[in-house]
């Protein structure tokens, strides 16, 4: 249903209708002892084919926003729109990669990818072919029959990427997917994501608490801060894709990194003042 809408809208009104729109989102968590404002007054528009990073410290509500976009959670007020249509439940138009790889331990790599394609009207051959293509694209072509227990953290995240690719969803959400990886693997995975993005141009919302990761990978960095979670800053990067190693080391990235570091330190200090006050 949503896929059809996606097709029609993107053909006729690509520039006007964002693929994801968050309007005045507030999310309040009620616990027996207190009420926590996880997110307050968030407005975000994500254009079709855009790569956006949500950057902020732990507890700033970035994962909450991601869950709202995924449809796994409902906002306390405001609305989440997918191609202009309200979105209330998860469906196959938005693929989600969690921080922990959500792999089914009883299925090998290939079947962990095919599970996303079964029962959606494809023939068995089509499902197999799609899965093989996606697994090839993330560089795991030789590991079809390996089970998750025997994979490294980086390989597990590659399988998650393959599954998301195979779903062919117009939007991919990534919730700090590489936070648990070592520095080198992490860099490799960032390169892989930008390569796949260059080739496929789906929309990506990438949640991270790493300034470097946000700058290396995305076109737009949305900075959030905590208590209550809100959007405080936005940076557009004009650098095209594929991203090169030179980009990582460029003066522009270095300058932006300094700027964002300073901003986040200031926010943290201000935060402490308000807390103490």
């Amino acid at each position: 249903m949503n896929m059809e809408v996606a097709g029609r809208v993107t053909v006729h009104a690509t520039r006007r209708v964002p693929v994801i729109e968050l309007r005045d989102i507030a999310k309040i968590h009620h616990t027996p002892r207190q009420t926590i404002k996880a997110v307050n007054g968030a407005n975000v528009r994500i254009e079709p084919g855009e790569f956006v990073a949500l950057l902020g410290p732990s507890g700033c509500g970035k994962s909450t926003l991601l869950n709202l976009i995924a449809g796994l959670d409902q906002p306390s007020s405001g609305s989440v729109l997918f191609n202009g249509v309200p979105r209330n439940a998860p469906d196959r138009s938005v693929a989600v990669n969690f921080q922990e790889p959500a792999l089914f331990p009883w299925r090998n790599i290939k079947r962990n990818v095919t599970i996303a394609l079964e029962n959606c009207g494809l023939s068995r051959d089509q499902v197999e072919a799609e899965a093989e293509r996606a697994i090839e694209a993330v560089g795991l072509g030789q590991f079809h029959n390996v089970y998750p227990a025997h994979l490294s953290g980086g390989m597990k995240q590659r399988v998650m990427l393959a599954r998301a690719l195979a779903m062919n969803a117009p939007v991919m959400l990534m919730d700090e997917p590489f936070a648990a990886l070592d520095a080198i693997t992490r860099e490799q995975m960032q390169d892989l994501v930008t390569q796949l993005y260059t080739a496929r141009r789906f929309s990506i919302v990438f949640v991270t608490h790493s300034i470097e990761e946000a700058l290396f990978t995305s076109q737009r960095v949305i900075v959030m801060c905590a208590r209550p979670g809100r959007i405080v800053h936005e940076i557009r990067l004009d650098e095209g894709y594929p991203r090169t190693y030179e980009w990582r080391l460029s003066d522009r990235v270095a300058a932006l990194r300094r700027e964002l570091h300073q901003l986040m330190r200031d926010l943290d200090a201000g935060d402490r003042v308000t807390c103490e006050g």
């Binding site: 995924a70 998860p90 009883w106 599970i115 996303a116 029962n119 227990a149 599954r163 779903m167």
Partner: protein, 268 residues
């Protein structure tokens, strides 16, 4: 042609033996064998009265004698048949109910009180009830075995479903896996290791309960055989029956362990 069939049978047998020897560590056999040797020697040296503790050779002779008359096979067959029926009924009830209870908090809320009240009743305490209601034939034994096997199995199934990581549940939702597909593709395979644990515990209980039930009121089965041997002062057969139970229980558990290993081998 006949040769090839025979070869196949031989191959099958040797495969079976090889499989069994893989399950049993050779070192584990040493101690029981040594114990049997000490036992046999002490009886033969007159250190023990054979009426109270017959020699292993006397036990096996007693078993061999009733094996030749066919009585042994009838008793083994009857007991195994009762176990198979009770066990199957328990599985057929406990697995679906456990899955439903694990899945639905509402159902759990309604049934928890009843289940918690029934669960502590020892199955053996229900033997008189089952005899009153179902007579002394197979039906009463099967019912008691089913009742005994039901609990550990159902509780393990519930646990298996409750322990499905929320991450996998959320991932399934984002892939549009819901309803029946969720049940088949996520819930059942995720709960399977715990289901098998439940099946193993139940199998052990089935053995305990069938013997107890057959000792209370029966005219066949291994429990009856052991009790009857005791009443007629055939202590060789009495102990033989007990050893036979140990061997049968061991074989059943080994088979279930093999099934378990095969199913959960990828999850280590």
């Amino acid at each position: 042609m006949a040769d090839s069939v025979e070869e196949q049978v031989v191959a099958l047998r040797s495969n079976g033996l090889a499989a069994l020897s893989r399950t049993i560590d050779a070192r584990a056999v040493i101690v029981p064998c040594a114990l049997l040797l000490v036992w046999e020697t002490s009886v033969r040296l007159g250190l023990v009265d054979p009426l109270f503790l017959p020699a292993p050779s006397a036990m096996f002779r007693a078993l061999w004698e009733i094996a030749l008359t066919g009585e042994l096979w009838v008793n083994i067959g009857v007991s195994l048949w009762r176990i198979a029926c009770g066990y199957t009924i328990a599985a057929a009830l406990a697995i679906p109910l456990g899955l439903a209870l694990g899945y639905s908090a509402t159902l759990r809320a309604y049934l928890d009180g009843l289940l918690e009240l029934l669960r502590p009743v020892p199955p053996i305490a229900l033997i008189p009830v089952s005899i009153l209601w179902l007579g002394i034939d197979n039906a009463s034994k099967v019912a008691i075995i089913a009742y005994a096997c039901f609990w550990p199995l159902m509780l393990n199934v519930v646990l298996g479903v409750e322990e499905i990581p929320p991450l996998l549940q959320r991932a399934a939702r984002t892939m549009g896996i819901t309803g029946f597909h969720y049940f088949i593709k996520v819930m059942f395979p995720a709960a399977l290791p715990k289901i098998i644990v439940g099946l193993r515990i139940s199998a052990g209980l089935a053995f305990v309960v069938v013997v107890a039930a057959e000792m209370v009121a029966a005219s066949s089965g291994l429990g009856y055989m052991i009790l009857d041997a005791e009443r007629t002062f055939r202590s060789g057969l009495m102990f033989g029956g007990i050893v036979l139970l140990s061997i049968l229980g061991f074989l059943l558990n080994s088979a279930l362990v093999r099934v378990e290993r095969r199913i959960v081998q990828h999850r280590a």
